[in-house]
């Protein structure tokens, strides 16, 4: 079979910021993006947050078409649904049309993507192997991003960055920081992705109440 080869310096081999942990906290919550030609999905499946190529192994339809949402990892075409290992577990008409047993289903598992966290920030990569997120960002930047994401946990009203705010850039991520006030996080769509996959969120520091001991 003909396959396309991805060069080492291609976007498919780089990490891209996707969302925050909060976006994937609920049951069946998902966030999608596209890197090059590859649709990706990160999804909470029974408490596990996992990432796959967002393409059904049956007949190649994109599974989740929306940039984010809440719903089972189920293909809209023929209703194949997948578990946290990417294995199809719901196959309509399997007894009559496919007769796939456990091993056959495992061979049709979704192709995994890489997922990593930096504090509360979630990153994805098409390639299953390669340098870690910390290696790609560098230890100092990784630590700074992690600390900032922990220090600004509260999603709030949108704010426009102002002159004088600190600006930090990492992969497709641009942060504007007003210390003790706000962190505006702009996640640009990766190469190949449409603008609908870009995201901007404003975070605020934890409230005083939240910092009080229980």
């Amino acid at each position: 079979m003909q396959t396309m080869t991805i060069p080492d310096d291609a976007p498919e081999n780089r990490w891209f910021h996707l969302c925050t942990e909060d976006d994937l906290a609920g049951p069946n919550a998902f966030v999608t993006t596209r890197v090059g030609a590859v649709p990706l999905v990160a999804q909470n499946i029974k408490g596990r947050v996992v990432a796959f190529r967002n393409v059904c192994t049956h007949r190649f339809a994109v599974i989740h078409g929306e940039p984010a949402g809440c719903g089972p990892l189920r293909c809209p075409y023929h209703g194949w649904s997948f578990d946290a290992d990417g294995v199809p577990v719901g196959l309509p008409f399997n007894p009559t049309d496919f007769q796939l047993e456990a091993e056959g289903r495992r061979r049709l598992a979704l192709h995994p993507a890489s997922l990593a966290r930096c504090g509360r920030l979630v990153f994805v990569r098409v390639a299953a192997g390669g340098p870690s997120l910390e290696e790609e960002l560098g230890a100092a930047l990784f630590a700074r991003l992690a600390a900032l994401s922990d220090a600004f946990p509260r999603r709030g009203d949108a704010m426009e960055p102002e002159d004088g705010w600190e600006r930090i850039e990492a992969t497709n991520l641009r942060l504007h920081l007003a210390p003790d006030q706000a962190l505006v996080l702009h996640s640009a769509a990766p190469p190949g992705a449409g603008q609908r996959f870009s995201r901007t969120v404003t975070f605020h520091p934890a409230t005083a109440d939240a910092e009080l001991p229980a």
Partner: protein
């Protein structure tokens, strides 16, 4: 033991089209020459204008009828080639003139006689409809020959219109590139058509309570309901990732005389066109989802998909395409 032995097929290399054929310009150009520049293609049913035109993969087909004689050309930019034109009943087909190649009857085999019989119902034509898809034309072919996405894609339209035990009552004939599927209509649907028949006195080519889908390679299918209504469809390639599904409803009656009968016929035709458009609007997102998804796994070796018992027509189409593309120009 299962009543349906040997179900799914994971295709081997060389038995289905490479994924890249669904989006590359190179594949599109090759198909223009070797498929649309060579095969018999459905052109339409002549009306009072005595003209038929079509555009497929950048080729423009122009046909004219003078009495019983038909002539036409295929334009490809500055290049103009004569057409060979033939009929199957009322259905007009053409191909770029060439030495050799199958006759139209051979190309339609074994369904020529069946198509000719059904085409006698190409009466009371309604305005042609064209619906654009942001998907390669072959994704639409795969969709239309996929006999089991009804419950997921058409849960409120086609799915309840066919017999609840559709799996038992679906009959599919496969003959290489061409195939025919017949679905038994649900009792309620058949009853609706029977009432329509009583009011409109439909012309019926067969006493059958089925939805029929007869596919002719490479891009034509005739849908029929109740052995009466016929809807020729053609999938026109526009670009590697774009196509137009063109179709025309014929609602044949044996009597259409009074103003009341004509008004009822008009409103019924409008209702049927709206219903068919709704079904196609449901198919469009999944065809486009496949168009978006397929390039996303093209770098993975062995990512071939799987074809179940009711998806064999799709592999038949892939294999016919491979044969056609391999033919010497």
């Amino acid at each position: 033991m299962s009543a349906h032995p040997v179900q799914s097929i994971v295709p081997e290399t060389g038995t289905f089209l490479p994924h890249s054929h669904f989006w590359t310009g190179e594949a599109f150009v090759r198909e223009r020459e070797r498929v649309f520049g060579r095969c018999w293609l459905y052109m339409g049913v002549f009306d009072d204008t005595n003209l038929l035109t079509a555009e497929m993969a950048g080729l423009r087909f122009e046909l004219r009828r003078r009495g019983e004689a038909m002539e036409g050309v295929c334009r490809d930019g500055e290049r103009v080639r004569p057409l060979q034109i033939d009929r199957c009943g009322a259905l007009v087909f053409a191909r770029v003139a060439q030495d050799g190649g199958p006759t139209l009857a051979r190309h339609l085999a074994p369904y020529g006689d069946r198509l000719a019989m059904m085409s006698a119902n190409c009466l009371n034509p309604q305005p042609p409809v064209g619906i654009p898809f942001q998907a390669n034309w072959k994704a639409l072919v795969e969709n239309t020959m996929d006999d089991f996405h009804g419950s997921t894609v058409h849960p409120d339209t086609i799915h309840p219109a066919v017999h609840p035990d559709w799996q038992t009552n679906l009959v599919t004939e496969r003959h290489g590139a061409n195939s025919d599927s017949r679905w038994l209509l649900a009792d309620g649907t058949a009853g609706w058509w029977a009432k329509l028949d009583a009011k409109l006195r439909l012309r019926r080519f067969a006493e059958e309570s089925v939805y029929r889908h007869l596919f002719i390679f490479p891009n034509f299918y005739l849908a029929t309901f109740f052995g009466a209504t016929v809807i020729p469809h053609r999938i026109d390639p526009v670009a590697p990732d774009a196509s137009v599904l063109r179709w025309q409803l014929f609602l044949p009656t044996t009597r259409l005389e009074t103003a009341r009968e004509q008004a009822f016929h008009r409103s019924t035709a409008t209702y049927l066109i709206t219903s068919a458009s709704t079904v196609i609007a449901e198919d469009r997102p999944v065809c486009e989802a496949v168009q978006q998804g397929r390039p996303g796994i093209a770098d993975l070796p062995g990512f071939t998909g799987i074809y179940g018992r009711r998806e064999r027509r799709i592999l038949d189409f892939h294999q016919a395409m491979l044969r056609q593309l391999a033919e010497a120009a």
